[in-house]
Point group: C2
Chain length 406, copies 2
């Protein structure tokens, strides 16, 4: 295997720390010093197919550090998923540029893109190493204990629910927040990290892993409201009806779909508004319904330093793996080995591509619609700082007027 | 004037730093030591009318400090606005408890409540000092240069738009965020603080102070999108049509109203969804539309230390004013006296009650829909830390394939 040049790219939805992975991979590649040049592809595989690269071989450590601290995908991203002819175009470009190492930072779709590219390269006899670096706020990559991007998005959701909880305590009523998560409930689950006494709080959580039953939902909201005088609700955008279709698609039959046929769940307030209206009709109380939307995945002010650090380290590990003897392709995975210790391990592209991980059954109690202590133990170490919450208490002042009037 | 006991209460929408004002007032009152006792009213004037107080006279400085660092209104809040009979009930309670000092932390509605109580007290001959302590994320109190709560909410909005801007740069398209602000555009304006090169960025801003023209809006979005290949849009929830009615109420004739007859602008995604649909129809491009909702006013992770500090100091100043000779009623105001220096001044309740302040004409250019440098100079000192943003640049790699095929 010749080393030649290396190309790095970013795919899928941006996160708050994806540029830490970019910076980690770039500095590890430069440190290794065994490549002829290092290029960044503009807008992921699109940039490869269209021969749109910038030269990062001599990037200054200072610029790299500042880019790492900026949210979003600094090289630009894409939703493109290469097929055979797309790959053929990419290989022509990579061959022309003598690129022998390709790194792709992304989620399971990007891992699948890597898998397709690696397979095509092998079948066409083009010597190319393909390495996937994990990233997704959804936290649903297989093999990985958790993924870079999740800790920071979870920190945002925890802080948002902490604020909403204190707001709701100030002006009691029903609050509903819709959180990202098409297939996995991990991000929505982070709402529990922000609420005081999460297991005895007025918070109900609904996630895509368990089918959503409107009657049960309304009855749980009602009993929580009766008990606490208020109710907080966290709902995944991807919650599904009994038949597996998204509840949002049932409520809005004309919902947009993306080029891959997936419903566009984010970028509108339909689910929050519809569920809010249902509750209002059922209980005749005011409902405040928020949709967290895109800001949760790249909010510039809630980065978990643990997440940022791991994003860098897993990318460095991926680069190191790629210099191993006989290496052809793979994905770097974050594996938890202690409380709290992680290791970065090499896994196959096949093992993380296509399928996704669901939130474990021990993390959620569907009967009470609450996250368990196990989830808390799992997620707590991923967030550097949880919101502070102290309830003001004081002795009640004896009532003079009421006493007199008795 | 006898000092007797003091009561403190919180009114209106909670903020991220309103408990800093609570802690500041409480510690100043305890320090003065000239009162018989200090009570907190539960849920604002409701707690006074219903004789629901907790005793804060001996509250520990440690608890106070922790409560200050918690968002939301620690004593609970209310939207009640006392009329004559409500005031009469309050006076009965205050008289029974021998309360002679009343402090109310809130916005212009709470200042008006103070004004009504002070007037009623005077006309009924009940000796009561009434002091208003400013607070509102809307930043629309008269006399005040700015108000506690604004800096932190503005920091949230700036960070949210910084993240959304980088996200939108990664996956270019149209992004629209709806920000709180019924009458004043200050909070929406903070979106500009988060975008790189705010005056040459693809950000358009629409605020309630200028009537919203759909045709002009669509043409500005279109030309921005053509120029930058993407467009960021910040819209106040309170934007108004030519006739002064909220655009949201025109789009949704069945919009809920509160007990005071005001439209319920927050707590739903209607405006973002409707404007998003308009753009999509006009330009045939995907639009990501977010509504920031309630999380922006009490987000637990974006507190501006400057805001928190001023919230405390203005409350301490209010308490100090109330011990002045012949003092009857007033409001403490934040007045800017340098760049950046503020003073806390005593003003009359009448001067801050009822009316609200609009965003100054020199802060906004309605022709370009952009915030001016003057706004930036005004708002920048109120936020301790703005989001970091560095764009990755590098030399383009010469295209080999394209050259060959030419």
């Amino acid at each position: 295997m010749k080393f030649g040049k290396a190309v790095i790219a970013q795919g899928g939805g941006p996160t708050a720390v994806i540029n830490h992975s970019l910076a980690g991979a770039i500095s590890a590649l430069i440190r290794h010093g065994e490549i002829d040049a290092l290029y960044g592809a503009i807008h992921g595989v699109e940039g490869v197919a269209n021969e749109q690269f910038i030269d990062l071989t001599s990037i200054s450590p200072e610029l790299l550090q500042r880019v790492a601290a900026t949210t979003g995908s600094a090289l630009g991203s894409t939703r493109d998923k290469p097929d055979e002819s797309y790959c053929a175009r990419m290989f022509e470009v990579l061959k022309a540029q003598d690129v022998r190492k390709f790194f792709y930072i992304g989620g399971n779709d990007s891992a699948d893109t890597c898998r397709i590219i690696a397979k095509q390269a092998e079948s066409t006899g083009y010597e190319l190493q393909v390495t996937h670096i994990p990233k997704t706020v959804d936290n649903d990559l297989l093999v990985n204990d958790h993924t870079p991007g999740y800790g920071s998005a979870a920190k945002f959701v925890a802080h948002a629910f902490a604020g909403a909880d204190m707001d709701n305590r100030s002006l009691p009523g029903i609050y509903l927040g819709v959180v990202m998560g098409r297939d996995a409930g991990f991000l929505t689950a982070a709402s529990a990290l922000g609420c005081c006494n999460h297991q005895d709080s007025p918070l109900l959580v609904y996630i895509p892993e368990y089918s959503f039953d409107t009657e049960r939902f309304l009855s749980q909201v009602e009993s929580t409201y009766r008990r606490f005088g208020r109710c907080m609700i966290a709902v995944s955008e991807g919650i599904r009806a009994e038949d597996g279709d998204p509840v949002l698609a049932k409520l809005h039959p004309n919902l947009d779909r993306d080029p891959h046929g997936n419903y566009q769940l984010s970028g509108n307030g339909h689910l929050a508004d519809s569920l809010g209206a249902l509750i209002k009709t059922h209980l005749a109380v005011k409902v405040r319904a928020d949709t967290f939307g895109y800001i949760q995945r790249s909010f510039a002010g809630a980065i978990s330093s643990i997440d940022a650090n791991e994003a860098r380290l897993v990318a460095e590990a991926a680069v190191n793996f790629s210099f191993g003897k006989e290496y052809r392709s793979g994905s770097a995975a974050i594996v938890r080995t202690g409380d709290y210790v992680v290791e970065y391990q090499l896994t196959s592209l096949e093992s993380v591509a296509r399928s996704t991980k669901s939130l474990g059954a021990d993390f959620y109690d569907p009967i009470t619609a609450k996250m368990t202590q196990s989830f808390f133990n799992y997620a707590r170490p991923l967030i550097d700082e949880l919101p502070h919450c102290t309830i003001l208490t004081g002795n009640p002042v004896p009532q003079i007027l009421r006493k007199r009037s008795q």
